[in-house]
Amino acid sequence: MRKTILLFFLTFLPVDGFCFFFGRGADRTPEMFEAMRSDFEKGDCASVVEKAGSFLNERPSSVLKETVFQYMGRCYEREGLADRAISLYQLASGLYPGNYFFAARLAEIYLDAGFYENSITLFTKIISVRPGDLEANLGLARAYARLGFLSRAKKYYSRAVALTDFGDLAALREYASLMIKKRDWPEASMLAEKGRNAEPSDAFWPRTLAQVWAGKGDYEQALAYMNSAVKFSPKSRPLALERALYLVLSGNTGSAVIGADEALAKSPSDPLAALIKAMALFKEGEIDKARSYFESAVRDGEPFTAKIAGAFLKITGAKR
């Protein structure tokens, strides 16, 4: 009787319970892993995440689990589940300290989320082991730059662009923009020349060189580069108006008015164009003519544009 009851019990025992009493069955994890890999490569993150739970319950090998953690983390990121990705990467970093993928992804998430100090700690750790890691150097440079540590950022941007022999043009642009912000004219100039050689028809590089020369106080050279930039992007309103501003600042008010008028012809209420025209007229002593353009910039301009126009209006009021 007892044997009958035991046989009955074993027949209807769930699989998990069977494994508990009699050990594991055939290892299904390689097969499950292949399915998840395929799903991941197809971009089917919902399926990857759904299968992950049962896969991990099968107690897979450490190697397979490590890879699945990578799939899961990337999927959480793609789905916008940063908190889950962070938890998973933190766990995986502890389990696989030699695998810098997890630390690198964690650092990138912190960087994107504005936790710059956290990302700096992680990127620095990665770079201490792998000084040639391009993404970590770029990540560290970005984190320092966003916090305002421009000299520290320069060190890592410099290393990152050297690692690609100046071939990563997106990184080169970021670095050049940072050097303009840092007012490091020799470095910005060198980077802009490299960029111009790689992209000879791109307006970004002559504009950068124009900023360098304006920063040095040479508006003649700055305008020469600005003219090149406008030539490469003739439809760009911001470039045309930046050039017109340089014209005002260099004292070439007549040409500045022409530049501003071109923008005003396309959009009569263009506040920056109105301000530039007003400043040029102001410099020419045409105070009354300037007033209506200052008023237009006060009315329609962005906050700082409106404030500058307002400051001029105060003077023109006093001069009336």
Partner: protein
């Protein structure tokens, strides 16, 4: 009015706003201008003990932007940092001094203070290492020999008067400005007994104006003491600190622009945290830099465009 700089280019990556374009161009012009084509710019540095080292970080961020500084005033730690800057010491070297002060010298004056020793001795102590630091870096310099006009503030311990130093021997004036009352013996100078100026003028904005500044940027280390002090020294420092903060809240409005590094978690005597304070200065100043530039530009507009 948004619009890509590189309209029509696949590489369009930058789309500056009108304000960005205008600020960039005008700021470049302002940086190259000298008074009277722009306002004279004063930098007022508050007290705050170790927290005051945040001023070094503020200076770093200002330097990146090419922010013009024509004169400097300082109280207490602000006087130390300000005098070094006015002397022409590079911001990088001021950072190094901060680290040295933290690790080797100045902190010892505070570590040396023991309650029983103070009570038994029944006299105030002389801050040997602070004196040595100031003497070695400012030496026999006078205010007149500095590269930038400089003022620092101390208080006459007998009369409570605010004393603003702008001429004569520099080291004694700075030493007086950073001289904590109740712990360190007053500095005897020009027939006065002088102690830390933070008790009467935590942010020396009017001192900067007295030097001729039209526009003053103040760097202020905020105090939010959340912990009970552990000993008599820290209690006294905290009282001075609270008093300084009260004064600061009154005088802040006199500045044309304020930068307040977030250093409230650093104690006045935490000289081992000078680098942390400096970092906080860089971060806060960098966040506020665009607004500071805009403020100065708006104030500069008549001068930038009306004078030859």
């Amino acid at each position: 009015m948004p619009g890509s700089v590189f309209a029509g280019d696949t590489a369009a990556a930058v789309s500056p706003s009108d304000d960005d374009i205008l600020r960039g161009a005008l700021w470049t012009r302002l940086v190259l201008s000298k008074p009277p084509n722009r306002p004279t710019v004063g930098l007022a540095l508050s007290g705050g003990g170790a927290r005051g080292f945040a001023h070094a970080g503020v200076l770093e961020a200002l330097e990146y932007a090419g922010f013009p500084i024509d004169m400097v005033s300082g109280t207490s730690m602000g006087a130390v940092v300000g005098s070094l800057y006015a002397k022409g010491v590079s911001v990088e070297d001021i950072w190094k001094f901060g680290v040295d002060a933290a690790q080797h010298e100045v902190a010892r004056d505070f570590k040396a203070v023991r309650l029983l020793k103070l009570l038994r001795a029944d006299k105030l102590i002389t801050p040997t290492y602070i004196e040595r630091f100031i003497d070695s870096h400012l030496g026999k310099l006078s205010f007149e020999k500095l590269k930038l006009p400089f003022a620092c503030v101390a208080m006459d311990f007998r009369t409570g008067e605010k004393i603003i130093f702008t001429e004569g021997e520099l080291a004694s004036a700075v030493r007086a400005s950073v001289n904590l009352p109740g712990i360190f013996a007053p500095v005897q100078y020009r027939h006065r007994y002088l102690v830390d100026g933070g008790v009467v003028d935590f942010i020396p904005i009017d001192a900067a104006r007295g030097l001729g500044a039209d526009w003053v940027l103040a760097s202020v280390t905020e105090s939010l003491p959340g912990e009970m002090p552990e000993n008599v020294l820290l209690s006294l420092l905290q009282v001075i600190d609270i008093r300084g903060s009260m004064l600061a809240s009154n005088s802040e409005k006199d500045a044309d622009f304020l930068i307040k590094p977030v250093v409230a978690d650093i104690q006045v005597a935490d000289f081992e945290k000078c680098a942390q304070a400096g970092d906080a200065g860089v971060v806060e100043a960098s966040k506020r830099l665009e607004k500071a530039e805009e403020s100065l530009l708006v104030s500069s507009i008549p001068l930038l465009f009306t004078k030859p």
